[in-house]
Amino acid sequence: MIARPAFLLLGIACLFAPASAQERAAVIAIPPLTTPDEKDSGADSPRAIAWQASQLIASDLRTTAELVPVGPDQKDYYSYPEVTAPTFSRWRAKGAKFVLTGFVRSRPDGRLTVGCYVYDTLKGAEVGRTGFVVAPGDWRRAAHKCSGIAYSAATGAPGGFDTRIAYVAESGPANNRVKRIAVMDSDGNNQSFVTAGDTIVLTPRLSPKAETLAFVSFVESQAQVRIANLASGDQHPLIQNGGMSFAPRFSPDGKRIAFSMQAGANIDVYVADSNGGTPQRLTASPGVDTDPSFAPDGSRIAFESDRSGTQQLYVMNADGSGQRRISFGGGWYAAPVWSPDGEWIAFARRIPGAGARIGIMKPDGSGEKLLTDGSLDEGPSWAASGRELLFQRAGPDGRPALYKVTLAGGEARRVATPQDASDPDWSGALD
């Protein structure tokens, strides 16, 4: 963690970067966004919003391992024309490899135009830009987009600042928990509840654009996959009949949902149209096949099966053919989730005597790496950047909370939630 006073010392800010990040992290200067507007009063004036947006961009980028933001500083105001003509030598001299400029301008219709530009100070060239027209109340989303442009320009990976996190908010005694599906912006703002807490709910999974979510509810006395429309609040079961259904996950195009369904003592992976229809069975082993997760191109599905006697990870084609085990490290492997860039499969691994941890491996089973050292870590979910994982960690008292860890390793960081939290699901970038 970087001490705040470091940001005031622009010239030597890079000296204050943590040692572990120093080799790779680039400094990006965030002078305050400007405004061409004459009117300059009130908490919701363009200038006030520009200042808050600048702070939010810096705060977004501070959560990354790749960028060290410096600013915003009131001393660094620039004029509107300078938005697209920054003085590169000035920022270079201050050790910044990148500089982000931008503006907030009011429109006659009451909305705001927000524009952001990212420059490479060494090349003296623009490396990214984005612009939006938003309602004054939506300036945060525009600022997150600016953060995303800066992150993409610096790393080549998609930024995940304008994303949402669905999770299960928990309260009450451990043997009779009240569980509610909650959704929040990835920076913790805009918390809202999707379910009322009158029935147990599990494993919310957002559709690719976070318009709907699939989850598991005990509303009709047994676990059942249900679909909720986040705008209208409407809910309905995914399939009308059948036994217990659970472990839903959307296909990358959002048109299908893979899930598990029970028939007697046998549990298999099925896929159904996300609007309903007859499920198609993909696995037929007599054991438990569950936790399906699509590859980003939709061609393959990773899942978990205990057909060998213990829970292990498998990969198959999306039509169920070519099932192949990929985990052989010992212990139990569970909850595979394919990364957005297709490179990795994240999982929870139970190691006898060592607890449950989060790790990653290549889709062919090679390159396994454990990223956490908790005793009860589970439920990994990828950041849109593919460089970070969100997961659930139970404390010594059994109460769960959300944590993030980067693929580079290091300490897992707690993600603040208003209540205890479990079963996280991090959306892709929204647009």
Partner: protein
Amino acid sequence: MRRAILVVVLVGSAASAQLPGLRKREQVPPAPIAVGIDALRGEFVAQSGSAIVYFGGDSSVLTPPARATLAAQARWLMRHPDLVVRIEGHADPSDTRDHALAVGARRAEEVRDYLVLLGVPAAQLTTLSWGKERPAVMGTAPEALALNRRAVTILVR
């Protein structure tokens, strides 16, 4: 002392039990359910020894003590064919979320199948898995985990 009485009851009923496949139709029609469900539940537990059977880690295999308990449960349930029974399977908190649901379901199915094998009409029995959502005992000590790996036979009505 209480255990001693239960053993006597179990031995007594075991002696009169017939092999499942050769079971004759009950001579006396069952008494209408005049007693409240709570009283019946108490009687069921007292005469079966327990409403709960326990499992090994990540296992749905019935242990010999579990089979003995289920045999006693089956004898009682066959005398009360009007009752609707739900078998609820549970997993321990060291299991991952979705696998816990699956394991709970398998435990409940295993119990259901064994009760049917012993002669309880299948139509009388339903199953449900709570996964790891309704632990009986808190904590992650081995003893606590063992007490959560269970299936509970519940008289619904």
